[in-house]
């Protein structure tokens, strides 16, 4: 299913790289705010400004991963700036501008990462409207934020970075709240509904183009239980969405596809597709002292509804899980590690193309309160998380089975 989602992956509209430069200049202009962040900001109607800039480098021993990584790539940049203010004691507004580049995606096109109106009626009831980060698992809504975690790449089985356009934020509404239920701890809930704004992707193969991409709905929620055992959190998340689009075949492809029985007789060249996806994840996190451990298990179920069931499999279930730990050794040094597993199709687990195992080790160095540096190594088994197009069209079963990725990333934030 992850692979099926790739069918929608395409080049975002390319914008000038000067946009990133402009954002960086804006950040430079705002440099005094770095100091201001430590000073009193006691007027609740003050506009709070926060920002981050990240630059990374990826090198793999084999296979192209996320970008042209075999030769080493700096196409791994993120920049964001947000503004938040209270319009009244219960009404808050905020927005974040974000631009990124990761190999073929992002391309520094600036976008609103999130924006919202937030009205908190009671602690147990709040309402948000706008473009809102999706609460899925423990870390999805902060997956963009390098400073908020130890690893450079979150476990890619559950938080695939190249799927951020579909998973990170939705446009619509949300209700949320939290309630203490002594002696059982505290419950936090978030429930949302809306749509996704997607750019039209390129076709999956030459001769096939895509049009009319829409997401009629996305909805879901997360229930988070802060247990009475201090630091132990359990969560369950669910999300459902539907993608609609049309495939257009050039006339020369229609007959060969009909001969292979991949499209129905009488096929005219346009194939409407409905793709329903249901995702859930169960999560557990425990923070005790300077130790933090987390584990999550997830399944994503995808169903195609088309006139060409031989071309697009009607039903696919994939499996994703990981376990992760980190330890805050000193204020400036935090090592961490995780083991992450991804099976794109639970019915086919054999073969390198049907699995991705990832053992990762990270060293995070907090140079000061606003600047950090990370080093990370990944030892991979399998090729299921790789992109065929990025690997010059090589089939996944022909790519190197065992490979490694090394990453360096530095982030400044305030």
């Amino acid at each position: 299913m992850g692979a099926n989602l790739d069918v929608l992956q395409g080049d975002c509209c390319r914008r000038t790289r000067g946009v990133l430069t402009s954002l960086l200049l804006a950040l430079g202009t705002l440099a005094p705010a770095v100091a201001r962040a430590e000073e009193p900001a006691l007027d609740p109607t003050d506009v709070k400004i926060h920002a981050f800039v990240s630059q990374g480098f990826i090198k793999t021993t084999a296979n192209e991963y996320l970008t042209r990584s075999k030769r080493g790539s700096f196409e791994f940049s993120e920049v964001g700036i947000n503004f938040t203010t209270n319009l009244s004691k219960d009404l808050r507004v905020g927005m974040q501008l974000f631009a990124h580049d990761l190999g073929p995606i992002g391309n520094y096109a600036p976008s609103f990462d999130w924006y919202y109106l937030d009205y908190r009626v009671r602690d147990w009831l709040g309402l948000r409207a706008g473009r809102i980060k999706i609460p899925f698992g423990l870390y999805n809504d902060s997956a963009d934020i390098d400073a908020a975690r130890v690893p450079i790449l979150l476990p890619q089985s559950v938080y695939p970075i190249d799927h951020r356009d579909y998973l990170l934020a939705q446009t619509g509404g949300e209700i949320y709240g939290n309630k203490r239920v002594d002696p059982l701890g505290e419950i936090e809930y978030r429930a949302y509904g809306g749509t996704l704004d997607l750019a039209t992707p390129v076709g999956p193969t030459p001769g096939i183009s895509v049009s009319d991409v829409q997401v009629p709905y996305v909805y879901g929620g997360r229930l988070l239980w802060l247990t009475p055992l201090e630091g132990l959190t359990a969560a369950a998340s669910y999300q459902a969405l539907r993608f609609d689009w049309n495939y257009h075949f050039i006339p020369e492809l229609i007959q060969p596809f009909q001969m292979l029985n991949l499209v129905p007789a009488g096929f005219t060249g346009t194939l409407p597709v409905q793709f329903r996806v249901k995702l859930w994840v169960a999560s557990l996190e425990y923070q005790v002292g300077e130790l933090s451990v987390a584990a999550e298990y997830s399944r994503w179920v995808g169903k195609f509804n088309t006139q060409a069931p031989n071309l697009l499999p009607p039903h696919t279930v994939n499996e994703r899980y990981y376990a992760m730990a980190s330890y805050h050794v000193t204020p400036w040094f935090t090592p961490g590690a995780y083991y992450s597993v991804y099976y794109p199709n639970t019915d086919r687990r054999h073969g390198r193309e049907n699995r991705q195992r990832d053992l990762a080790v990270t060293f995070r160095f907090d140079v000061n309160s606003y600047w950090l540096l990370k080093l990370e190594g990944h030892w991979m088994n399998g090729t299921a998380a790789l992109d065929k197009a990025l690997n010059h069209g090589t089939e996944l079963d022909a790519l190197d089975k065992n490979w490694a990725a090394f990453l360096v990333k530095t982030t400044a934030y305030f």
């Binding site: 962040a37 430590e38 000073e39 009193p40 900001a41 006691l42 709070k48 926060h50 981050f52 964001g80 947000n82 938040t84 004691k89 808050r92 905020g94 974040q96 990462d113 999130w114 924006y115 919202y116 908190r120 602690d123 809102i132 980060k133 809504d141 902060s142 963009d144 934020i145 400073a147 908020a148 975690r149 939290n178 203490r180 002594d182 505290e186 936090e188 009475p228 055992l229 201090e230 630091g231 923070q287 005790v288 002292g289 300077e290 933090s292 805050h328 204020p331 309160s369 934030y413």
Partner: protein
């Protein structure tokens, strides 16, 4: 919670039933961990290097540690009396902040910072304002009826009173 008090099931393991002993040991371990990580003693507040202060007009003389933690992490926006709470922090490197974080929030200053970094950049909320000194905290709390802050050991500033943490 008494740290030394264990549930009656936590007796020395029997050699006859190793599996049962393992389960019991697990329960004991979890119980012990719960005891170690649940509420710190409120009586230790002053000696621990911080004292929580509120405006003298605040009707509360004491507050549950969980409520205070929720207010400072902005999971709760109001006092039990429904009055709006206005938490204020000290600087990251303040000894009182370190003591308060461990004693009331149950996590290190670094962990609290990571919590706020997540919430700031995911659009959830922004942290309480940070003030540079005990004096600044005292002045802020004295002039805002719903305010709550913490300072190091010493006399309580005029216009504020000490809030006991249960």
């Amino acid at each position: 919670m008494n740290l030394l008090r264990l549930p009656p099931t936590c007796r020395p393991p029997s050699h006859r039933r190793a599996r049962r002993a393992l389960v019991v040991s697990g329960v004991c371990l979890l119980w012990g961990l719960a005891g170690l990580t649940l509420a710190p003693s409120a009586a230790s507040q002053g000696a621990a290097g911080y004292q929580v202060i509120v405006n003298t007009k605040n009707s509360h003389g004491d507050a549950r540690r969980e409520l205070l933690a929720d207010i400072f992490l902005k999971r709760a926006t109001r006092w039990d009396s429904s009055e709006r709470a206005m938490p204020v922090d000290l600087r990251l490197d303040s000894p009182a902040r370190k003591a308060f974080s461990q004693g009331v929030l149950g996590r290190s200053v670094a962990a609290v910072r990571r919590y706020w970094t997540q919430r700031i950049f995911s659009g959830r909320d922004v942290p309480p304002p940070q003030l540079p000194s005990d004096e600044a905290v005292g002045k802020f709390v004295a002039t805002h009826p719903g305010a709550v802050g913490y300072i190091g050991p010493g006399p309580v500033p005029t216009g504020t009173k000490r809030l006991e943490v249960r």
